[in-house]
Assembly symmetry: C2
Homo-oligomer: 321 residues x 2
């Protein structure tokens, strides 16, 4: 049997960003006490995403590991650098065709934004949507659907056939907070519960999926030299997932004047929901907040089928690999 026909595991990655400490704390905890995580019988691989960045308590060394998984980057032999090499290494060891193959990945992140306990889905792969719908059905978590943004590509979970980011905040970089860990663990356990249910089949999902679909991002207003000319308005701080209307305060300029929300071209006349408001790591990316559209989608009958097919290839604990 080739490696691809072997029963595969579920990959749980934490510390893809080295200054997000809550996921790695959980990982160590689960490793030392396997019963501490309710895995619903599934075989897991628990992996520290970027050990070198983690040991320096930095998001990344040279290139954001969670933007390294673009096929063109991975394939470009002229590019190296520790983070991109780590991306290749993760795929060699735990990719869908890796040495210890994994078909589903849960990537644990934290944020300084008040995202609460949230899921991030990249694109519209049926298995991802099924998994997200199942978790939303269990816990009610909001879902940020990221797609069609050419400035932000190469996310880790996109290199596996199915994967979600579990994103919890607000928590400062470098800080472990028990409440953030608890929320993260709830998200992981719910995802594993859905995968196990899909494996047993048929997977029952809610009739609707509520997503916040990515529309674009707003940068801070900047001076000609590139330096910020305003900061986030305090009325918008910690208001992730709350609708923003034209004219609502968004920025506070250096004269103390409030700058109201002006919908970007193409988004006039519709309400938008901000996410990742004032996330520490996004300043360098030119993102003060992202804008989404809140949408209720009927759950397609294809989604659970896609997740069931994948889940049937996942190993159960105790079953021979």
């Amino acid at each position: 049997m080739g490696p691809n026909s072997n029963p595969a595991k579920v990959l749980v990655v934490a510390g893809t960003h080295g200054n997000e400490r809550n996921g790695p704390w959980l990982l160590e905890h689960w490793r030392s006490r396997p019963g501490a995580l309710q895995s619903h019988g599934l075989e897991l691989e628990l992996v520290l995403g970027n050990p070198a960045a983690h040991s320096q308590n930095r998001r990344y060394l040279e290139r954001d590991l969670n933007r390294c998984f673009a096929p063109s980057l991975l394939a470009d032999a002229s590019l190296d650098g520790a983070d991109l090499q780590r991306a290749r290494e993760l795929l060699l060891s735990h990719g869908p065709a890796g040495e210890a193959p994994c078909l589903v990945v849960l990537d644990l992140h934290s944020t300084t934004s008040a995202m609460g306990n949230a899921l991030v889905v990249y694109g519209r792969r049926p298995a991802d949507l099924a998994l997200a719908a199942g978790v939303q059905g269990l816990l009610g978590l909001p879902i940020y659907l990221h797609e069609a943004d050419h400035a932000q590509t190469g996310f880790l979970v996109e290199s596996w056939p199915c994967g979600l980011v579990i994103e919890v905040g607000p928590v400062p970089q470098g800080v472990i907070q028990a409440q953030i860990c608890r929320q993260t663990q709830l998200g992981v356990e719910a995802a594993l519960e859905v995968l196990a249910a899909a494996q047993r089949g048929p997977l029952r999902l809610p009739a609707e999926l509520v997503v916040h679909r990515h529309l674009g991002s707003l940068d801070l207003p900047r001076r000609p030299d590139g330096s910020p000319a305003a900061c986030l308005h305090p009325a918008l701080q910690h208001r992730d997932w709350h609708p923003l209307q034209p004219g609502d305060p968004v920025f506070l300029d250096s004269h103390g004047a409030t700058l109201g929300f002006v919908p970007p071209r193409g988004l006039e006349g519709q309400p938008v929901w901000p996410v990742f408001v004032n996330e520490a790591a996004y300043g360098e990316k030119g993102i003060a907040l992202s804008l989404t559209s809140r949408e209720c989608w009927p759950v397609s009958s294809e989604w659970p089928l896609a997740l069931e097919a994948l889940s049937n290839r996942l190993a159960q604990r105790g079953a021979p690999l």
Copy 2:
């Protein structure tokens, strides 16, 4: 006239830690709009503490700049390194005997702990205590009196005849929040108001100073290999300045068990007040929280005299230097 007899300025330092962004944001704002800061007529020097660390959004490069001001470190010619050199440079340019001499320093910090708007005083210099008492009289800010801790020395303000840290939180590292900036500015303006009042003299102060006097620090419980065996208990998160009794929850171990507060030797039988609870930057220093004793001190008549004497040597805006 030698430089020491020249009228001196008040030094306002921000960004002593390069990943604390709120003070530097204010500095830029005040520089571009001098009227934006109510200086009560005092001449100010506005200085970015550690520009190299700021540009990398890191606390420091090699050595915490706010631990570099120990006379033995400053004088040791065998030690260099960017941060220590920066400490020497700050003293050469803005020290009490520097090129543009400053006699009072306000050092603007932020923290991931829920310290609110607070002052930190190092030791018991009469002028510092007068300034802190005056600010407490105006704004009611709590005061952390740091002293007698041989593991933590070399603070910037100790190299000037009078100086306070203004410490505001909680705010993540790398994040600018308008509310944190506003609180910081209130603290700076109150300190300048007290200095100007001392210059006019006689300085009227409240009858009492309430301080939280440093007693010691608690580290996380650790395994033999040095890794943390517990995290902060969620019941203690954001509970800076609230009294802690023996048995109150302090840590949560990897079995999910609560570890109650056991007073360190010498501190049995007295309540203690935690500060700097779960500060991101203190993990590497082995500090999960510090413990203080809340004390009401009568304001000594010597304190305002000491601050008046210093303030009389401060330049007023528009007066010839």
